[in-house]
């Protein structure tokens, strides 16, 4: 299928590829998707004492749109507070990358990855609120 230029740019020059030490207290790790579905995203965020996301890294197994969605999200969450990051919606990601309908699930997965990473961070730092489920899906 023919891809949008923005997807190709993120796919060919993915931003913030890599990993942090997931045992680090300031790091939240979210792994979403499943190999059987053809998509697995790992998003990691590094959060400072002020609750601001200082850095983010990702690794993704999946199609070009999945790689682009996670790459874009690492750019977007940097400099945001945890609450601001949680406000990122899959529709914004899909719109920014002009994803076709068949690839919308990639943006859903990217939103899930942010929530999973934040949830992991909160669980570790003892600030977890009751209730958020990693697997509640819009898919």
């Amino acid at each position: 299928m023919a891809y949008n230029d923005k997807v190709i740019d993120h796919y060919e020059n993915p931003r913030n590829v890599g990993s942090f030490d997931k045992e680090d207290d300031g790091v939240g790790t979210g792994v979403v998707g499943a190999p059987a579905c053809g998509d697995v995203m790992k998003l990691q965020i590094k959060i400072n004492d002020e609750g601001v996301i200082e850095d983010a890294k990702f690794k993704t197994y999946g199609c070009g749109s999945a790689i682009a969605s996670s790459s874009l999200v690492t750019e977007w969450v940097k400099g945001k507070t945890v609450e601001q990051a949680l406000a990122i919606k899959n529709t914004e990601i899909a719109e920014a990358l002009a994803l076709p309908p068949v690839k919308i699930h990639c943006s859903v997965l990217a939103e899930d990855a942010i929530k999973a990473a934040v949830s992991d961070y909160k669980a570790k730092s003892g600030t977890a609120e009751d209730g958020y489920k990693v697997c509640q899906s819009a898919a």
């Binding site: 299928m1 891809y3 190709i8 796919y11 993915p14 590829v17 990993s19 792994v31 979403v32 998707g33 499943a34 190999p35 059987a36 579905c37 053809g38 998509d39 697995v40 995203m41 790992k42 990702f58 690794k59 993704t60 197994y61 999946g62 199609c63 070009g64 999945a66 790689i67 068949v102 899930d112 999973a116 990693v134 697997c135 899906s137 898919a139």
Partner: protein
């Protein structure tokens, strides 16, 4: 080198220039309707059609009267399966096929099921070949037809149609073979093979798209119920004005295939071996389908921990397919690889390379170098590769998506 390099000959082939040249006069000067009996325009066209029919028959060692023109292998498969199933309906309403058949066979079977027929879909062995034990057990007293392909379109394995046909003959069951992928690749001798119906396509063998043929055995005679009604062309089995230029193209393509098949196959085998050796040193590469009982034109490999579609993006200077070209527009992994028992991950990670008449050594070397770079780059950003390298068994992980 012209980019992208075409390595998708199993999807379609270019028309050989010798074929195109022979077709053109039948579009402009010799445009007559082969069914016109009253003037030379018609006679010229009819002669060309019959010469082409002889060429198609010669490639497979059949009688020209056993060749029926169709629009392609899909129509041939439909006509053979539905035509025979309906004609012999009173004998039985049970059919047998393989799960790795082309959709033109599987969907035709589904349609017959909707009409009240019963169909057994056999699982292939993990190497893609028919499991003869299961096949023998699948026959019933009311089995009327078996349809098994010759060469698989995704993995290139060659089914033993002589042995399959012999088992059908013993039981008086009609045997149809989809040979769309085998003409010009594997020798076919219908004087010896116990095959009753065989489907052919021109465009997989350097002929034009939109034309195919169906072999219908005369001795013992196989009868079909026609699907297309009209002027009674092709002995009433397939009405519709014959596409003379397309037919001439198919005849010429099959003539070239007959004359050049032996030399071409050994050249292509050398290229396939070169490609295989070139990618075999990549870690975690799996070849799908048996390597011995297989046409050399096809190499289907799974690059574990790399997703197929992203790999195709990374090797966009190669025209290849991930699974079958017909199914890659969906998000489902290849049903053929799933039927072999491959995991979803490996099915998602598969690439089909198919080599043909115009592939060069330079093309293959270019492909090898591109694949090496692409797989390395995508594994660098793959969380699954990272887990594999950390010694984590990916099949034991509880994936979040499973709870969705």
């Amino acid at each position: 080198m012209k980019l992208p390099v075409y390595l998708d000959y199993s999807a379609t082939t270019p028309v050989d220039p010798r074929v195109a040249e022979k077709m053109i006069p039948f579009l402009t000067e010799n445009f007559g309707n082969p069914a016109s009996r009253s003037h030379s325009f018609g006679w010229t066209a009819e002669k060309a059609v019959e010469e082409a029919r002889e060429e198609v028959a010669r490639l497979v060692n059949a009688d020209p009267r056993e060749i029926i023109w169709t629009s392609g292998a899909t129509e041939s498969n439909n006509l053979a399966i539905k035509g025979a199933a309906h004609f012999y309906e009173t004998k039985g309403r049970h059919l047998i096929t393989l799960k790795t058949e082309h959709k033109a066979v599987l969907d035709t079977m589904r349609e017959l099921e909707a009409q009240g027929f019963e169909v057994t879909y056999l699982d292939p062995k993990p190497d893609g070949l028919l499991d003869f034990q299961a096949f023998r057990e699948a026959f019933r007293a009311d089995t009327s037809l078996v349809s098994i392909m010759h060469v698989n379109n995704e993995i290139g394995v060659i089914q033993d149609i002589a042995a399959i046909g012999a088992l059908c003959r013993e039981r008086g069951v009609i045997f149809h073979v989809d040979a769309a992928q085998s003409t010009g690749k594997v020798a076919i001798d219908l004087a010896k093979l116990p095959v009753d119906l065989m489907s052919f396509s021109a465009h997989k063998t350097y002929g034009p798209k939109g034309i195919g043929a169906l072999y219908v055995r005369r001795k013992p005679r196989i009868r079909l119920k026609a699907m297309m009604h009209g002027g009674g062309h092709e002995r009433g089995l397939r009405s519709g004005t014959l596409a003379t230029h397309q037919i001439v193209g198919m005849g010429e393509a099959f003539r070239i295939a007959r004359e050049e098949m032996a030399a071409e196959s050994s050249r292509i085998r050398a290229l396939r071996d070169r490609l295989l050796a070139g990618i075999a040193d990549i870690e975690e590469v799996y070849i799908n389908g048996d390597l011995e009982q297989r046409v050399p034109h096809n190499l289907n490999a799974s690059f574990n921990y790399v997703e197929g579609e992203s790999l195709m993006m990374a090797i966009k200077d190669l025209a290849v397919s991930s699974g079958s070209a017909c199914t890659s527009s969906s998000l489902e992994p290849s049903y053929v690889l799933r039927a072999l028992g491959r995991s979803d991950e490996l099915a998602h990670s598969s690439i089909r390379f198919s080599i043909g008449r115009y592939t060069t050594e330079a093309d293959v070397d270019f492909a090898i170098s591109l694949i090496h770079k692409a797989v390395e780059r995508l594994r660098d950003i793959s969380p699954l590769w990272e887990m594999y390298k950390d010694g984590i068994d990916i099949s034991s992980v509880q994936w979040a998506a499973a709870a969705h």
